[in-house]
């Protein structure tokens, strides 16, 4: 009879807490629709990984090692970096660079809004994390799940669980995090600044050559960024070439869905109670929020700085869209603009900055891999 209750008898309170956390993530995914494609698999995976003696993860019982499917997925998909890179192909196929081509100046916001990454990295070292761990925590501010996972899988495998949960949770919370920061740093008059639209259109040749040239240039300057940028631009080339429509659609839909599913559930293999229920986790989650706040502040303050020199003023809120959370951040900025002035259409500008943010976050990931030794 004892055999029937062996799982229950082995249950620790930490595992019970982790099962509750898994349940909470599933609740947030379904009831609040916070990044459901990722948080639901992560939540369910967390439950699978924390059931006592779970066959889903590796176990050492009586000196015998039993392999679990989740741990296997983690080894072949995340430790080899295959899953994040496949997601980059899918994301690249989804990105339309043409809004950015209409106002390339907005590329600079994709750089300024990465400030939170580096600021948080520095703050994390003061909390006692090693430089590599700190870099992995800072990259939560990339507001780009695959980049966070890619960097963390290189530098801090043990922290993958909390880093992924923080990255995806805060991406879902962009509409709550960004507005108060923007309001605190801008005046009403600044938020009402109107920006002229551009009717400029881009040739197909330009759209095809851009991903190829960017990959080569980025690769020459920072070879460690080639995988990150290369896979993103490969996906974009599939989209823009015009002869691989089926592949482009498959990358945007089937590939993105399947790999997201596997990515989420594989990450959960690291969310065992012994690795997750630590003070580190709370600090990482706190620092992640810090990163998003300083990203937003970096973008807004840089726009205000540019306004000191340019004739055609930029609405500083557009700077905040320089984070990679696409298209949520652009939508938030547009809605804030409309609240201040219902005839102010910031959407196209915010989308351009948001696309720049997608490039910027990948470049930031590549640079961190190159600079942190």
């Amino acid at each position: 009879m004892d055999g029937l209750f062996v799982g229950l008898l082995q249950m620790t309170w930490q595992q019970a807490v982790m099962i509750c956390i898994g349940g909470l993530l599933i609740y947030l995914a379904i009831a609040k629709e916070y990044e459901p494609a990722l948080l639901l698999p992560i939540g369910f995976g967390a439950i699978l990984a924390n059931i006592p003696l779970s066959a889903a993860i590796d176990q050492f019982t009586g000196g015998v090692h039993t392999e679990g499917a989740l741990t296997y997925f983690f080894k072949v998909g995340i430790l080899t970096e295959v899953f994040p890179l496949l997601i980059f192909v899918a994301v690249g196929a989804m990105i339309d660079f043409s809004p950015l081509f209409k106002n390339p100046m907005l590329l600079l916001f994709g750089a300024a809004a990465q400030f939170g990454i580096f600021f948080t990295m520095s703050a994390a070292t003061v909390f006692g994390f090693s430089l590599k761990q700190a870099a992995s925590i800072g990259i939560i501010g990339a507001a780009d799940g695959p980049t966070s996972i890619y960097v963390a899988s290189r530098f801090a495998k043990d922290l993958l669980g909390p880093i992924s949960v923080a990255a995806y949770s805060y991406m879902a919370l962009v509409p709550i995090i960004q507005p108060p920061v923007i309001r605190a740093l801008t005046t009403k008059a600044e938020r009402r600044i109107r920006m002229e639209g551009s009717a400029h259109s881009v040739s197909r040749t330009t759209l095809i050559l851009f991903p190829i040239i960017v990959t080569v240039m980025a690769g020459i300057i920072a070879p460690s960024s080639v995988a990150l940028i290369g896979f993103l631009m490969f996906g974009n080339l599939i989209r823009e070439c015009g002869v691989l429509n089926k592949l482009s659609l498959a990358a945007q839909n089937e590939l993105a869905s399947l790999v997201t599913l596997l990515l989420g559930i594989s990450i959960a293999a690291t969310m065992t109670a012994d690795k997750f229920l630590k003070v580190d986790t709370m600090i990482i989650i706190g620092l992640g929020l810090f990163a998003f706040i300083f990203d937003t502040a970096g973008g807004v303050l840089f726009a205000k700085f540019l306004n000191l020199f340019v004739k055609k003023k930029i609405n500083p809120m557009v700077g905040a869209a320089g984070i990679s959370a696409f298209p949520m951040s652009a939508r938030v900025i547009h809605n804030m603009g409309q609240k201040e002035d219902q005839f102010n259409y910031l959407l196209m500008h915010a989308v351009s900055a948001n696309v720049a943010g997608q490039i910027g976050s990948v470049i930031a990931g590549g640079l961190i891999l190159a600079l942190v030794i």
């Binding site: 082995q10 019982t61 006692g128 040749t205 330009t206 109670a273 229920l277 961190i368």
Partner: protein, 89 residues
Amino acid sequence: MDTTKIIDSLTSNHLVSDTLHLHQVNTIKDSISNTQDVFNSAFTKDAVNNLWPALEVTVKGMGGIFIFMVIFFFIIQGLDKLFPKKEEN
């Protein structure tokens, strides 16, 4: 009292002898030691020493991203001039 020592004494007295229990005990010990590590190393001299290389990466990283973006800006401008969109009509 040091919790790790209590667990060590429990283990050595064979109060917990089953290997599965040992695994759990080790898990708790790891958890406690990790927690103590964070508390012990935060804001220490070592942590602050780690800040300097982090600030160096910050300066180089932010500079690097801006350089990349300026290069991409010129690539876009160049491509747009070399291959302008032809009028549909």
